[in-house]
């Protein structure tokens, strides 16, 4: 029960080998073992979205996956997404519109927003609100976030912001 299991995975493009307890969940692994503290823990039952990360190109809840289940996968956290420049436009719009205050929900929110724009680049405000309805924000009241995602969608389509 307390045996450690070997996992081999890619995190933010980097090859990682570690030995982990079976019960260690993925977001705790990222935060504690790899010191990638950008993904946050808010509820540990999948409801708040603070731990949203990317596994094999899909967003998932880091608290509802075991680290051992990430063996052989490609994990991307907010740090990796930032360094690659993939969400630079989203981060800039968020910044300019103050679509974040305390910043605790922000990594998960950006992850979800990035996925939305990938799947539905012309998302309407209603669609944006529905897609992001799994990410809890207590500070902003959501509107500035919706404004930012809508603006990025338009910018990416060559339209006005």
């Amino acid at each position: 029960m307390n045996d450690l299991l070997e996992i081999n995975l890619k995190v933010n493009g980097e090859k990682i080998t570690r030995f982990v307890p079976a019960r260690l969940n993925l977001v705790d692994f990222l935060r504690e073992d790899l010191k990638l503290t950008g993904s946050h823990v808010g509820c540990e039952h999948g409801a708040c979205g603070a731990c949203t990360i990317r596994v094999n190109n899909d967003i998932v809840r880091g608290c509802l996956m075991l680290a051992v289940q990430a063996d052989g996968t490609d994990v991307m956290t907010i740090e990796g997404l930032s360094d690659s420049g993939e969400i630079k436009d989203l981060q800039e719009e968020f910044h300019n519109r103050n679509s974040l205050q305390c910043g605790f929900c922000t990594p998960g929110m950006l992850m979800a927003a990035a996925e939305l724009l990938k799947l539905n680049p012309n998302a309407t405000r209603r669609e944006i609100r529905e897609f992001l309805s799994g990410n809890y924000c207590r500070c902003t009241g959501y509107q500035a976030i919706v404004d930012a995602v809508e603006a990025v969608g338009q910018l990416r389509n060559g339209g006005p912001a």
Binding site: R23, G38, H40, G42, H95, Q101, C102, C137, R138
Partner: protein, 793 residues
């Protein structure tokens, strides 16, 4: 009209006052590179997990820690009795709330548990998981005691006493009586009577409470990293209760993932964590998990208010009479007390209006539920809902438009200074101006026409207004006078280094609301540098001036004013040296855009970095007797008024599905007057966030307890917080009436949105239901409550 003085920072060249610059502090948060308490790991750090009482009221008969203590990774298991030597108990009372009483509370319960979730035992281990494994093995024997959960019967003769030594279950009672209330009701043309219920709810900060405490036995220094709002207050309390010197305590607040008042209170489990670090000489970390947050974060707003309003034939309010009952937990929270919320309700109800007679009684009673205390907008949401609910009910009863009845009763804009019937001094408010503005923004007439057309199609829309006042920028009248070591003054130090860059250290703390950005903009404007040259350091009691922290919407108004004064002083120091270097008159020079310039035409004379180089490295080139000081500290405490009141108005447009009781929020408008606006973007975002938080308590959030005091919905699936899909767009407008008590003229705005939202949405729902003669007055307005009001069940 802005107050202009020759040196006013508001009209200096390239002033950042009123500019929506993006916050420098947001950059790291956007990349997940902030530092929250749980991100910190210190060498040899232990994790503490608390065994918590499963009962709302129980005697602790025995605690057997043997098995738990021998588990893998466990370093120590500590009971309340053992911790007493390291942490003294406290009582949450203040002298200015006369008669307020409470019982002594320990960091870890010693003899009995008084609410479900109270910490009974601490388990310290190398990992959180190990500590949780061991916590499950601590054997605690309880003897259940009678439970008090109904606030309505808490004071009955037959109800058991939670603290027999106190004589009853009454924490605090306040009664006020102004004017001639009984006569006003006898003479009234219309009397409105309502009973309002407000559901107990809580803050649900996304980052749960957290602390890492480290005691250094060699230096006797305690360092505490805390997710919190008032580090100086905690510094004092740690020293006081751990028996160590306050000067040896350092509290550091780094990034805080939301606080909203939840994190300005003293929590027993946090105190225990810090005490344990002293006991063990090792760093100790405690992070509340979500379940713990629900059962131990302070709750708020559990009130039943019975109220009456007397009006004359013209719809003018003659009197308000109300009885407020609130059921807090078994202890008044320390050190701010659990009497403040009720106190505010007594003070503030009907505050926007000219009311001649007023009578109110507030009773705060103990129960065996979780503790309650100040949470964003403290008392205002209740006071506003009561006042605005009565006004709208009166309008419906008298066939008046809700706008018209407010026109007739809002304090006229030229009536200031004005003292409200309960004694609140208003410097200068702008209720009518705000009302005019919001009607324009929402296109009120068109909405009413649409409402009519929709009704014909059996679509039921409603419009609700809430006029409000908000307490901001508190003076020592709020806490200091009651004996609390809670500072209402604020300090800011601004230092220029040789690069020409300035560093500001300030006592207000960043919670994400942008206080660092506000201070930076004020400092940059006051000194004369560009914003990118400004750094702000806050939250560290070793580094910043002695201050009060962030609460009661004080950061911009009080922290900003301290920054302004420090900036002006630094600018004077800089100009003194510049005058010497340039052989010119001080009055002929100015600091603008990172350089010394000619005041007359802005010609650049000397870059600040050059002045800095001379001052710091070539003091030999300056005349004898010249000892430049490129650093200034100023403190500011509000004096003229006990609080700086702001005012505003909210309007909400809803559509109620009368078949299901589901409320759709179509749109929201807010006009707020918070005086001088330093960064409009930050202000608007604070208002929006505040509105949504208020809507949460009005439509979704409720801490549900059963008759045994068991908390029923301690997960985020069962406790419903507002999410993006249901929230409306919120349009924000402003009126600016600066306060003359400071040069900056800024009042606070952090809580206004939350104050008015519940009232506005209640009025909107009741407006939508008016064709059915149905009304709701119990929050949260769940579909069931609406269906019952409609008589469908």
């Amino acid at each position: 009209m802005k107050v202009k003085t020759p040196l006013s920072v508001l009209d200096r060249p390239n002033s950042y006052i009123g500019k929506s610059n993006p916050r420098a502090g947001a950059r790291q948060l956007l990349e997940g590179r902030g530092v929250f308490v749980d991100d910190l790991n210190l060498p040899r750090m232990l994790h503490v997990v608390f065994c918590r009482s499963p009962y709302a009221h129980a005697k602790i008969v025995s605690i057997n820690t043997e098995r738990a203590a021998s588990e893998s990774g466990v370093v120590r298991v500590v009971t309340g009795a053992e911790l007493v030597d390291y942490c003294s108990p406290w009582v949450g009372v203040l002298t200015h709330l006369q008669g307020l009483k409470s019982a002594s509370q320990h960091a870890i319960a010693v003899d009995r548990a008084c609410w479900q979730g109270e910490a009974i035992c601490a388990v310290l281990a190398e990992t959180r998981a190990q500590a949780e494994d061991a916590a499950a093995l601590v054997q605690i024997e309880y003897e259940e005691l009678p439970v008090v959960v109904d606030m309505e019967t808490a004071l009955d003769e037959t109800t058991p006493l939670i603290h027999p030594e106190l004589g009853d279950n009454l924490c605090f009672q306040r009664e006020v009586n102004f004017g001639e209330v009984d006569k006003a009701f006898t003479d009234a043309h219309t009397v409105i009577e309502e009973t309002f219920h407000f559901g107990r709810h809580t803050g649900v900060c996304l980052e749960a409470r957290g602390i890492v405490a480290q005691y250094n036995p060699a230096t006797s220094q305690l360092t505490v990293y805390l997710s919190a709002q008032a580090p100086h207050m905690m510094k004092n309390l740690y020293a006081k209760h751990f028996g160590i010197s306050e000067d040896n305590v350092r509290v550091i607040c780094k990034d805080v993932g939301g606080s909203f008042g939840i994190k300005v209170h003293t929590y027993p489990d946090e105190m225990a964590t810090a005490a344990l670090s002293i006991m063990l000489n090792r760093p100790v970390k405690f992070i509340a998990d979500r379940y713990e947050s629900f059962v131990t974060d302070i709750h708020a707003r559990d009130h039943r208010v019975s109220a009456r309003m007397a009006l004359d034939k013209d719809g003018k309010i003659k009197a308000i009479d109300m009885d407020d009952l609130t059921g807090i937990g078994p202890y008044s929270v320390y050190p701010r007390t659990s009497g403040i919320e009720a106190n505010q309700i007594v003070n503030l109800t009907g505050g926007p209006y000219t009311v001649e007679s007023y009578r109110a009684r507030a009773q705060v009673v103990f129960t065996n539920k979780n503790v309650m205390c100040q949470y964003r907008a403290v008392g205002h949401p209740v006071a506003c809902a009561v006042g605005e609910g009565l006004v709208d009910a009166a309008a419906r009863s008298m066939g008046l438009d809700p706008v018209e009845i407010r026109r007739r009763n809002l304090i006229p804009d030229d009536a200031y200074p004005y003292t409200y019937v309960t004694g609140l001094p208003f410097e200068k408010l702008s209720h009518h101006q705000c009302l005019d503005k919001i009607l324009e923004m929402m296109d009120y007439e068109v909405l009413r026409e649409e409402q009519e057309k929709c009704r014909e199609q059996e679509i039921y829309r409603g419009i609700g207004f809430a006029s409000m006042i908000e307490v901001t920028n508190p003076s020592p009248a709020f806490y200091g006078v009651g004996g609390a070591f809670i500072s209402s003054q604020e300090g800011c130090t601004i230092r220029m280094d040789h690069t020409g860059g300035i560093t500001c250290t300030v006592g207000v703390t960043e919670q994400g609301q942008g206080s660092d950005a506000v201070v930076a903009q004020v400092a940059a404007s006051a000194v004369g540098v560009t914003l990118d040259k400004v750094r702000v350091v806050s939250g560290d009691t070793d580094v910043v001036p002695y201050g009060g922290g962030t609460w009661a919407s004080r950061a911009a108004g009080i922290g900003g004013e301290a920054a302004l004064r420090a900036g002006k002083a630094l600018r004077e120091n800089i100009l003194e040296v510049a005058a010497i270097i340039l052989q010119a008159e001080v009055a002929s020079l100015d600091v603008q855009n990172d350089a010394i310039v000619d005041m007359a035409d802005g010609t650049e004379r000397l870059p600040l970095s050059e002045l800095g180089r001379i001052v710091y490295f070539r003091g030999d080139t300056l005349p004898d007797g010249v000892q430049p000081e490129l650093v200034s500290t100023r403190h500011y405490v509000p004096k003229a008024f006990p609080f700086s009141f702001t005012n505003g108005i909210e309007a909400i447009h809803v559509e109620v599905d009368v078949g299901t009781g589901i409320v759709k929020l179509l749109k929201c408008w807010v006009v707020d007057d918070c005086g001088t606006i330093i960064n409009p973007l930050l202000v608007d975002e604070q208002i929006r966030g505040g509105v949504v938080q208020g809507l949460g308590g009005a439509l979704y959030e409720e801490c549900l307890y059963d008759e045994k005091g068991q908390y029923l919905n301690a997960t985020m699936a069962d406790y419903l917080v507002p999410m993006a899909a249901e929230m409306p767009d919120i349009e924000v407008g402003h009126v600016e009436t600066p306060t003359t008590d400071s040069e900056l003229g800024a009042k606070g705005v952090g809580e206004a949105g939350t104050a008015g939202a519940p009232a506005a949405v209640m009025n909107a729902i009741n407006d939508a239901l008016s064709p059915f003669n149905a009304q709701v007055t119990a929050m949260p307005f769940t579909p069931e409550r609406i269906l019952r009001a409609l008589g469908k069940i």
